[in-house]
Symmetry: C2
Subunit: 89 residues, 2 copies
């Protein structure tokens, strides 16, 4: 099953980067989910940091972003899903 | 020379997606540059849309985000660079 990391505007990019790199090392990929500009920004920063962690292990991290409409208590929101895939260099 | 698209918080993601897909079809890759959460969000949305355009041509679009410190009139800001690379499926 695909691991999912939910990222918010208040998430610490370094902490998310550590988790991202750890799951990618184990499973090859991880999905980051973010709703709103602040959360998407933190998720992208996390992946930029995780890339620097993984590159020293010969793993190139690539992102595949896509949309998903989700139903929340405040109505329908569009979530950005970013599948982070580790590729051996 | 690598083509660069500068994305702002006010950029129209569909227009940026059309430009992204066009450059990737011609050159194989394009760099999206964004400063600030709003701009990063628009850039990621643009790539998610461009992915849907390119997938029908058998091109998988992947993002490689990284940081770059830039000197602006208001001081040093951290730019997010996202290299969007088209990979034949």
């Amino acid at each position: 099953m695909k691991e999912i990391l939910k990222v918010s505007a208040k998430s610490d990019p370094k902490a998310v980067a550590v988790a991202t790199a750890s799951v990618v090392r184990q499973c090859g990929e991880v999905e980051l989910q973010a709703i709103g500009a602040g959360a998407v920004n933190q998720a992208v920063k996390s992946v930029a940091i995780a890339r620097s962690y993984l590159i020293s292990s010969g793993i190139e991290l690539m992102l595949k972003p896509s949309f998903l409409d989700v139903e929340l208590s405040e109505g329908t929101r569009t979530m950005i899903r970013m599948l982070a895939v580790g590729v051996a260099e």
